[in-house]
């Protein structure tokens, strides 16, 4: 019996450690959603925030701002990261350049977002002001692109690496060019992994606050162009909490953010699963 008990203790502790993750997630989700969900209504989603955080208003313009800023980030980061990953994996051999680029992506991913934001502020908001309009959707989106890029690049590269070499050989062996092989065999096979990388990057962009705080401007009006200042949901949440202590609206906004991210995750998972199944002929 004594021997058994000595086995039970570490197992129990490890079980607790594993369960802790789940419990923490559930507690956070439950807490935010229970406070925030009651606030969500058609009115909340389609009405603009009031001046000085007045009650009874919505978050319409901030949803729009989040979509716009994230969209810009993805439009810039997706071709760069996927293109970069294709170049690294398909056109270079394992060499110094490749190691350096991969290391660079890792360091970029590890730079604190406030520092990326600082750079975005100095470069896009100040230096490129005539083009970006200063604090704007464009400045915010381009800054976020720096944060999406390394995540998506690394995951795309892994996805391409996982495509069996035999498929490339098979395609080249039929007299297909390298580019044809990449577009018709390699990319379709790696697509689920590539999309996963982009979605993770997108999640990062939607949730980012510090970098946005320094680059997007925070104006609550509905944006009409990419050069307008904007206030995405995360920044709005921060502002109404710190400036107006409006916890109610903050919970509502948080709930919308969480639901959006959960929905994106689940829908993509589902789409990619069925795509993979189709690929495998199941």
């Amino acid at each position: 019996m004594a021997a058994k008990r000595s086995e039970m203790v570490p197992m129990g502790l490890l079980w607790g450690a594993g369960i802790a993750t789940l419990v923490i997630l559930i507690v956070i989700l439950a807490y935010i959603l229970s406070k925030g969900l009651p606030l969500i209504s058609w009115h909340f989603l389609t009405t603009n925030p009031g001046v000085r955080g007045q009650a009874g208003t919505g978050i319409y313009s901030t949803i729009l701002a989040t979509v716009a800023v994230t969209g810009v980030a993805l439009l810039v980061a997706a071709p760069l990261s996927v293109g970069g990953a294709i170049y690294l994996n398909e056109y270079t051999r394992e060499n110094l350049l490749r190691k350096v680029i991969r290391q660079a992506a890792e360091i970029l991913a590890g730079i604190p977002s406030i520092i990326i934001g600082l750079f975005g502020f100095l470069f896009f908001v100040i230096y490129l002001l005539p083009y970006t309009g200063g604090w704007s959707v464009l400045s915010g989106g381009l800054t976020l692109a720096f944060m999406v890029l390394p995540i998506s690049l690394r995951i795309s590269e892994e996805a391409l690496k996982a495509v069996p070499g035999e498929l490339r050989e098979g395609s080249l062996g039929l007299g297909a060019t390298k580019w044809q092989s990449i577009t018709t065999v390699v990319l379709p096979t790696a697509l689920p992994g590539i999309v996963t990388g982009l979605i993770l990057g997108m999640g990062r962009a939607i949730g980012e606050t510090a970098a946005i705080l320094l680059t997007a401007g925070g104006a609550l009006g509905v944006i009409h162009s990419l050069r307008d200042p904007a206030c995405p949901m995360t920044l709005y949440l921060y502002n109404i909490l710190t400036e107006y202590n409006d916890t109610t609206t903050a919970y509502g906004t948080a709930a919308v953010l969480i639901i959006a991210i959960l929905a994106i995750t689940f829908v993509t998972d589902w789409l990619m699963n069925s795509y993979t199944k189709k690929l495998k002929g199941l």
Binding site: G175, L279, L282
Partner: protein, 253 residues
């Protein structure tokens, strides 16, 4: 007897980094016959066959010298159009490697990348190729199913059909049956027997019975050297080299 030469190899040396995998290989591969390459693992036979359609280009740190003359030119020259070359010299790999696409799209892949777009033409090529690869009867009702649902043997015949669809002159086969069960293997061998009427075939095998069954000529490779090249009957029954004799009589493998 027709003694036309399809591919003429002269003084071929190949290094992987500092390791010399092929040493001064010279061999004339006859047209419209099956040439078998045998030898123990690591003897260079697979490396050799990959040189014939420049597949070794994909490997790091390879250095190749010598000549591989096909249609009057040395295909090892750096200005060789490898895409065009691989249309004419096709390869079937050890492990069946169908694309994760439908059966139809697998066979139509080659013609499509070479610009065939018309559905009627594609239908015709796909049917003809699958028939030539002895697979048509088994798959004609499920051409739109994923190729990955076929059995290993069917997948390998599909890969052969996929190759035939680009109408090559030469078929290189790198142990095409080594991953298959005996029944699937005998189907592949029957198929090779049929195909040799129209194609020059070079097949790597470590199965000597297979070499004896399908080929007219056999080359014995050992430690990167071409030890002996003769008609299959002579090589097995009257080997000139002691090493060949030891190998074909099973003294080592």
């Amino acid at each position: 007897m027709n003694n036309a030469i399809e591919i003429s190899v002269k003084d071929l040396d190949l290094w992987f980094g500092k390791f010399q995998a092929l040493k001064k290989i010279s061999i004339d591969i006859p047209k419209n016959k099956v040439t078998a390459l045998i030898g123990p693992s690591g003897c260079g036979k697979s490396t050799f066959i990959k040189t014939l359609d420049r597949m070794n280009d994909l490997v790091d740190n390879v250095k190749i010298t010598g000549e591989v003359v096909y249609q009057g030119r040395n295909i090892l020259d750096s200005d060789t159009d490898v895409v065009e070359l691989r249309k004419q010299i096709g390869m079937v790999f050890q492990k069946p490697n169908p694309f994760p696409k439908s059966i139809f799209d697998n066979v139509a892949y080659g013609p499509r990348v070479h610009g065939v777009r018309k559905k009627a033409n594609l239908n015709e090529v796909v049917e003809r190729s699958l028939k030539a690869a002895a697979l048509w009867e088994e798959v004609k009702d499920r051409l739109n199913e994923s190729a990955l649902r076929l059995s290993g043997g069917q997948q390998q015949r599909l890969c052969i059909a996929r190759l035939l669809a680009v109408e090559p002159e030469v078929l290189l086969m790198d142990e095409p049956a080594s991953a298959l069960d005996p029944i699937a293997t005998s189907k592949i061998e029957d198929l090779i027997y049929e195909l040799k009427k129209d194609y020059t075939i070079v097949i790597v095998t470590h199965n000597m019975q297979q070499a004896a069954r399908v080929s007219s000529n056999t080359a014995f490779f050992y430690l990167g050297e071409l030890v002996e090249f003769a008609s299959t009957i002579d090589l097995f029954e009257r080997p000139r080299d002691k090493r060949t004799e030891d190998y074909v009589t099973g003294k080592f493998g």
